[in-house]
């Protein structure tokens, strides 16, 4: 398949996906969990891909994602809360000191940039650390950022540890899809560029990469800053989805969740991260909810054990099974692509043929 048809196919698929979503939105009731899952899934897909860029493609084991999302979410919220509702949001801080708003896209980008700037500063000292030490240091920074944003003295800007709300959010499921889609496309383009190859070289062998003239510090910092930028943007999107945000949401548990998504999808696979984030969100928010119902009957049979909390036990078991039996994740390091599907069918078809042929030989 040549490059052009591939691109055509991909563009076609994306257009078809968006059209389907658009139509579904007209048909299904807007409160449907289906859309909740799609919205949150799209946002998590972006942050998972951004984490994958770091952990999967550059081999930097960072656990700071929640912190960068926090920065993005706060920047977005602080810059977009309408001036007239600031008085009620910043009720303990006389309306706060920021008395202007910027358009939503600008705020999203500002969120990304804030996260990127912090990543740059944090990266200066910590990117010299190796593997687990880097992980724990970035985790630590995320916790520090969280504490700083809860600080009373910053209240006029951050509203202390209280909720930020009343900022613009999205209604249509297309919005997070389009924004996440653009961002993920940018990440994919980066991964396929010469810089992406350099990142992968660093992941495979730092010493060899350095001997090939790749400036480790520079490239690690680039990956870290870019990953954080997109984590920041996804933080802004998450704020839009949640409609209220607060520093205490962005705990290390959130980072672990994202890490689970990345690993279940396959470390080093962008499409894997996307697929697994939808599955993960659907499982945790939607599909398993019926397990929390104490009085579930299948026919006349009263299903035992079911009561609030059972859903989470089952979910954790599903994750354990995934981790133990699908070490490579859903996609491994492969990507889901038109070409791949074509090959898959060709192989299936081809194998059938050889199998038939083989039978006659025996």
């Amino acid at each position: 398949m040549n490059k052009r048809t591939k691109m055509m196919w991909n563009a076609g698929l994306i257009a078809a996906l968006l059209a389907t979503l658009f139509i579904l939105e007209q048909i299904l009731p807007s409160g449907s969990m289906f859309f909740t899952v799609l919205k949150k899934g799209a946002i998590y897909a972006l942050v998972a891909v951004s984490m994958n860029l770091l952990n999967g493609f550059t081999g930097l084991f960072s656990l700071g994602q929640a912190g960068f999302m926090l920065l993005g979410a706060y920047a977005y919220a602080i810059l977009t809360i309408p001036v007239e509702s600031r008085g009620s949001v910043y009720q303990y801080f006389d309306g706060g000191i920021i008395q202007f708003t910027v358009p939503v896209p600008v705020a999203l980008i500002a969120g990304g940039l804030l996260a990127a700037v912090f990543a740059f500063l944090i990266g200066l000292p910590v990117l010299r650390l190796k593997s687990d030490y880097l992980a724990i240091a970035t985790l630590g920074f995320a916790e520090i950022i969280r504490a700083v944003f809860q600080w009373d003295k910053l209240g006029p800007i951050t509203n202390g540890s209280n909720l930020l709300r009343n900022f613009p959010s999205f209604k249509s499921v297309l919005y997070p899809f389009v924004v996440s889609g653009i961002c993920i496309a940018l990440i994919v383009m980066l991964i396929n560029s010469t810089y992406g190859r350099a990142f992968k070289a660093i992941r495979d062998d730092e010493i060899a990469a350095e001997a090939m003239g790749i400036n480790l510090a520079h490239h690690k910092r680039l990956a870290f800053v870019i990953s954080s930028f997109f984590a920041g943007v996804s933080g802004g999107l998450l704020a839009m989805y949640q409609t209220t945000i607060q520093a205490s949401m962005f705990k290390s548990a959130m980072t672990y969740e994202i890490l689970l998504i990345v690993v279940i999808g396959g470390i080093g696979s962008v499409t894997g991260s996307c697929i697994s984030s939808f599955l993960f969100i659907a499982c945790s928010e939607w599909w398993l909810r019926f397990l929390d119902n104490e009085n579930l009957y299948l026919g006349g049979f009263h299903v035992p054990f079911l009561r609030p909390g059972f859903r989470k036990v089952v979910f954790a078991l599903v994750i354990m099974i995934m981790v133990l039996f699908y070490r490579q994740g859903i996609m491994g390091t492969k990507e889901f692509s038109v070409e791949g599907i074509a090959d898959f069918f060709k192989n299936k078809f081809g194998r059938k043929k050889t199998a038939e042929g083989g039978a006659s030989h025996e």
Binding site: T36, L163, Q246, A247, M249, R289, N293, Y297, M322
Partner: protein, 415 residues
């Protein structure tokens, strides 16, 4: 090979859940019960539902786990008891069976909205909840977008209803409660110095702490404020600080979970000054923690046991007849104010449904403004601005550390 089989089983299970999930969504039936929903989710609702009577769904958006799990469960108990007492409602001349759709918001501001959307998805007409102000604020927009009215039961932070036409509230507000507490501290303990401990990221805690401070300093008092992070279980240094600074009251409007730890450690360190808190502490968790210890605990709350004998007896009977309910109430039959509030909230919702004459959320929302209901916790009418119940009294109780019960101290208003 084994692995393959396991994997296949897993996939099959996933596929199975997916189908049920889709059914729940597409068929517009309950997502918690899916198909079983019509077969009878709530034990009490099942009989009439089987007769084919029409069903109206009331969403219950309450924490069953996390920091506020204990309180949330007690609040739900009140609603369930009310639902058992009055399982049907007449709407527009037709008999409807009321079905409670209960979701757990996990006391978490980020898990809350998803739980709320699952209620929306289940097609509820009105939502009750939540215990805890933060989660209520967090889910507010989800309900607003879906056009579903919500009745806050014990979320006392002003921000829950402020500027919202869909969020109502049947309890008093923190500015009121904070003032009551400050007045009480000033009048009864002649306290001039208060130690305020609040939890970071908990809007209820920060809010009540703030209003108490405003009121207390307004009375010429002095405050020391400190905060703790979520997940903190070591409160010794806070208690030490309060002692060292010579505070005369220890004010900690926090969740029961943290409260139990604070009481325990305060007792261990011999903190003798009165400890005060708001409505969250009105719980048997606190009584159990304080029992047999040398501490003084004062709380303000919505309802005092003995206020309505019928309700008290009926509710105790309900709790004692059902082991799950007993467990959810913390193992005994102490009546928490939040249960009474949950009970009242349920009836307010029924009143609104009756008045609306329809199960349409928009109509219910409209009708709520005019509801006038006298419940066990007093008369409930909503003001015209924010939809807050007009309340002017709070009950002050004191924990009896010998008997493990609440002693009534005073009924207090602002003036």
């Amino acid at each position: 090979m084994k692995k393959r089989v396991l994997a296949m089983a897993l996939v099959a299970a996933m596929a199975g859940t997916m189908l049920t999930g889709c059914g729940g969504n597409g068929g517009n039936s309950s997502n918690t019960g899916s198909d079983a929903g019509s077969a009878g989710t709530e034990a009490d609702a099942s009989a009439p539902a089987a007769d084919g009577a029409k069903v109206v769904k009331i969403g219950v958006y309450e924490p069953a786990s996390g920091d506020n799990g204990a309180g949330g469960k007690q609040e739900v108990l009140g609603m369930q008891y009310a639902n058992e007492e009055t399982p049907t409602v007449e709407i527009g001349g037709e008999e409807y069976t009321v079905q409670l759709e209960i979701v757990d918001n996990e006391s978490s501001n980020d898990k809350g909205p998803s739980a709320a959307s699952s209620l929306v998805s289940a097609g509820v007409s009105v939502v009750l909840g939540s215990y805890g102000s933060g989660v209520s604020i967090a889910a507010s927009d989800v309900f607003k977008e879906a056009g579903i009215p919500a009745i806050g039961v014990t979320c006392t932070n002003p921000q829950v209803t402020e500027g919202n036409t869909h969020y109502f509230r049947i309890c008093f507000l923190d500015p009121f409660q904070g003032t009551v507490l400050a007045n009480f501290a000033n009048a009864n303990f002649s306290a001039k110095k208060a130690y305020i401990l609040t939890k970071l990221g908990d809007d209820y805690s920060t809010g009540l702490g703030y209003y108490f401070k405003e009121a207390f300093t307004g009375l010429g008092g002095e405050v020391i404020e400190e905060t703790f992070q979520e997940g903190n279980s070591d409160f010794t240094s806070y208690v030490t600080k309060a002692k060292n600074e010579g505070a005369e009251v220890f004010f900690a409007p926090v969740s029961t979970e943290a409260a139990a730890l604070i009481i325990e450690q305060a007792a261990a360190q011999g903190l003798t000054i009165p400890m005060m808190a708001g409505d969250t502490w009105d719980s048997n968790v606190i009584l159990n923690a304080a029992k047999g210890k040398d501490v003084q605990i004062y709380v303000t709350t919505f309802y005092q046991e003995g206020g309505n004998a019928d309700f008290d007896n009926g509710f105790k009977g309900y709790i004692n007849s059902n082991p799950t309910a007993t467990a959810n109430n913390g193992g005994d039959d102490t009546i928490s104010a939040v249960s009474a509030m949950g009970y009242d909230a349920y009836y307010v919702a029924l009143e609104a449904l009756k008045a609306a004459g329809s199960t349409d959320p928009a109509a219910v929302n409209e009708a709520l403004w005019k509801v006038n209901y006298t419940g066990v916790s007093g008369s409930i009418t909503f003001d015209e601005v924010n939809g807050d119940a007009m309340r002017d009294t709070a009950y002050v109780k004191c924990a009896n550390t010998e008997s493990g019960e609440w002693d009534f101290v005073a009924e207090q208003g602002v003036n």
